[in-house]
């Protein structure tokens, strides 16, 4: 007791006890990013930072991607900003979750903090306010609904039908193993309203194509020095189930239901990602002539193409020419025993805007059909020019979407 009292007294007298040193206050006023600011990379771990409050970011909540070697962090507000440049309650969307407590404040103070725009997923763009928007669309993965003005001219009778088209359907696409791409369309529906109302509906359409590096045929010649010529052929498969079509020409009409169609495809050209192609397609179909009540066999051959013209999927061109021959039909008065059909089409679809990241596209189509399978209707051509709008749901970014947004290289 005595010893302790003496010790304490001496300490007080000599003033040997020092109070803990308070850290200097950090008066950092972190600047907001602007349009020219760098973008945070997607790689690495995002770190949550608590910086001194500023008038723009009073919460002091920031997120950073840091280069520890350079002792530099690209820093962006953790929340979106309003038009005045003030922090909102809305956290940044489509960013990786940041991890707290990875950097003590003492460590942060040793780093150079650079205002930056938070990262965005491939196919998406983030502005300086932190808002994210999609600029790359995959129209082969969508649920679509649209309408078009679709007049039709019958050449034989010189008749013009005023019609509109309502269309909807579901497009799916997914890559498979070994450089193969699968594509499926469900409920591909076109309803024509107005004069000569009719429909064209397919329950399911599926196809795949692939890139085969091994030649399908190796041809060796022996005249002169033996030489081998490799013939590469990228074969695929195409099928339809339940394709119903109603045809009306004046007072005559025909209802056809193609129960199942299986065809092989030969790609004349396809893009490296297999999305765009020009190909030949041929095979048979079993069809029900619902008007006359019998089944027929319909072999067909087609040349068709589907081209996505730009990186971001805004421009699409589709074209095709298909010939069909109806076999095994029963005799029907007013039409040949083995009718034929020839269908031509060419179309262009352009995304003109996106509403809440759902694209709205303009569709332009030209179609021509020659057929003599409708009893008591003169054989001949019908032509239709169609123009309309289409609204697409889902439509995610393309698989080939670049990680860097436009202008960020």
């Amino acid at each position: 007791m005595l010893v302790s009292a003496v010790t304490l007294g001496c300490a007080l007298l000599l003033g040997q006890v020092e109070a803990p040193e308070e850290p200097e206050p950090w008066d950092l006023q972190m600047a907001l990013p602007d349009a020219s600011s760098p973008q945070q990379p997607s790689a690495g771990q995002a770190r949550c930072l608590a910086l001194p409050p500023t008038p723009a970011v009073p919460s002091g909540a920031w997120r950073a991607r840091c280069d520890d070697a350079k002792k530099q962090c690209l820093v962006s507000p953790a929340n979106e900003l309003d038009s005045e440049g003030h922090e909102k309650d809305q956290p940044l969307q489509r960013v990786d979750r940041c991890v707290s407590n990875l950097m003590p404040m003492e460590t942060v103070r040793q780093y150079r903090l650079v205002p930056a725009i938070a990262e965005a997923p491939p196919g998406w763009y983030r502005d300086e306010r932190g808002r994210v928007l999609q600029y790359n669309f995959d129209l082969h993965r969508r649920v679509y609904v649209g309408g078009a003005w679709a007049p039709r001219w019958l050449r034989e009778t010189d008749r013009l039908d005023e019609r509109v088209r309502v269309d909807f359907g579901v497009d799916l696409e997914w890559p498979g193993d070994s450089e193969r791409l699968h594509r499926m369309t469900l409920l591909d529906t076109e309803l024509y309203l107005g004069d000569a109302a009719s429909y064209d509906v397919t329950l399911l359409r599926y196809d795949f194509r692939s890139q085969n590096d091994a030649p399908l045929f190796r041809v060796t010649t022996f005249y002169g020095r033996p030489r081998r010529f490799d013939i590469h052929a990228n074969l695929g498969f195409w099928m339809e189930l339940l394709h119903g079509e109603q045809v009306r020409r004046g007072d005559a009409h025909g209802d056809f239901l193609s129960v199942a169609t299986t065809q092989v495809t030969l790609d004349l050209w396809h893009s490296s990602d297999l999305v765009s192609y020009v190909r030949l397609r041929t095979g048979p179909a079993v069809e029900r002539d619902r008007t006359n009540g019998f089944f027929t066999l319909v072999p067909a051959a087609a040349l068709e193409g589907d081209l996505t013209l730009d990186r971001d999927g805004f421009h699409h061109v589709r074209f095709g020419a298909e010939a069909q021959k109806v076999l095994l039909a029963q005799a029907v008065e007013g039409r040949p025993l083995r009718p034929e059909r020839l269908r031509l089409r060419a179309g262009y679809e352009l995304i003109v805007l996106a509403i809440n990241d759902q694209p709205v596209s303009v569709t332009l189509d030209g179609r021509g059909t020659w057929r003599d399978d409708v009893a008591n209707a003169p054989a001949g051509w019908e032509w239709s020019a169609q123009a309309g709008l289409r609204f697409s749901l889902w439509a995610p970014a393309r698989r080939s979407a670049p990680a860097s947004p436009p202008g960020k290289g």
Binding site: V219, T220, P226, R227, R228
Partner: protein
């Protein structure tokens, strides 16, 4: 000798490269075995001024092996299995041969052993060969109901060429056969008890792109009704490899056939020319 036999067994020809090479470094065969593969062919036949389209298929197998029991001896065997040819037109018909083979034995120094008295060895300048054919059916729709079936034929042949490769042979000798000619009025047996002469000759280039084969049979056969008759038939076939698809040779084949008193149910005289294309998968050497 052993080295040559091994080379033949391995399907290579000394001094001849049987491999081509692409710019990418991949190799491909440039030599083919006309006696090996699965034949799938089609062609045009002209018979008695009537043209018809024919299809042809069958399996060819050929190998060279050293004799297990005799020294310095090679067996060079060619087998033709399930050879089928059918043709349409006004004179529809079909031939089918279950098996047709030529088994040729080559020796370095042929000899005869004379065992009368002190055994003596006499030079014998021939190889021996055995020609066997089983179940050869001929059906001619245009002749009406009926068919001809050669149940079996065997020829004991000698080959003066005595080549030690499968690329050339000339085998000649007597042959025995039995045949049935079935017509609506009954079935007739015909036997040729080695009273016919059979010839089987062939020549092929080293790379197998050209092949010529000639077969012939002439002699007397005796029917079950007591009658005897002379008949003869011969066929020449020339094959040339035009190109190869996936290493399978595509061959043009020209044939000429002449028959005297042996064609069909009624033992007609006939002449026929043919030209066709065939692909022979597994025919690379």
């Amino acid at each position: 000798m052993v080295a040559l036999a091994l080379a033949l067994l391995l399907g290579t020809t000394p001094g001849l490269s049987c491999q081509g090479r692409t710019a990418a470094g991949e190799t491909f065969p440039t030599c083919f075995d006309p006696g090996t593969g699965w034949v799938l062919g089609t062609g045009l036949r002209v018979q008695d001024d009537a043209e018809s389209l024919a299809v042809r298929t069958g399996f060819l197998v050929r190998w060279v092996r050293t004799s297990g029991s005799k020294a310095d001896s090679l067996w060079i065997d060619s087998h033709r299995l399930l050879m089928t040819e059918a043709w349409g037109g006004e004179q529809q018909g079909l031939t089918f041969t279950a098996y047709d083979g030529l088994l040729r034995r080559h020796v370095e120094e042929g000899s005869l052993l004379v065992s009368i008295g002190r055994p003596r060895r006499i030079p014998f300048p021939f190889d021996v060969a055995l020609a066997v054919r089983a179940a050869h059916l001929e059906r001619r729709v245009w002749e009406g109901p009926g068919w001809t079936l050669e149940t079996g034929r065997v020829g004991l042949l000698l080959d003066p060429l005595r080549t030690n490769t499968e690329r050339g042979w000339l085998a000649v000798g007597p042959a025995a056969s039995h045949a049935l000619r079935h017509a609506p009025d009954g079935t007739r047996n015909e036997v040729s008890p080695f009273t016919s002469l059979l010839i089987d000759a062939g020549w092929e280039t080293r790379d197998g792109r050209w092949a010529l084969r000639a077969t012939g049979l002439a002699g007397w056969s005796f029917g079950s009704d007591g009658g005897a008759g002379f008949r003869a038939r011969g066929e020449v076939a020339l094959e040339h490899v035009l190109l190869a698809v996936n290493d399978a040779p595509v061959v043009v084949r020209l044939t000429a056939t002449g028959v005297k008193s042996d064609a069909g149910l009624f033992r007609r005289d006939e002449g026929m020319l043919g030209a066709g294309l065939a692909v022979r998968p597994f025919g690379a050497r």
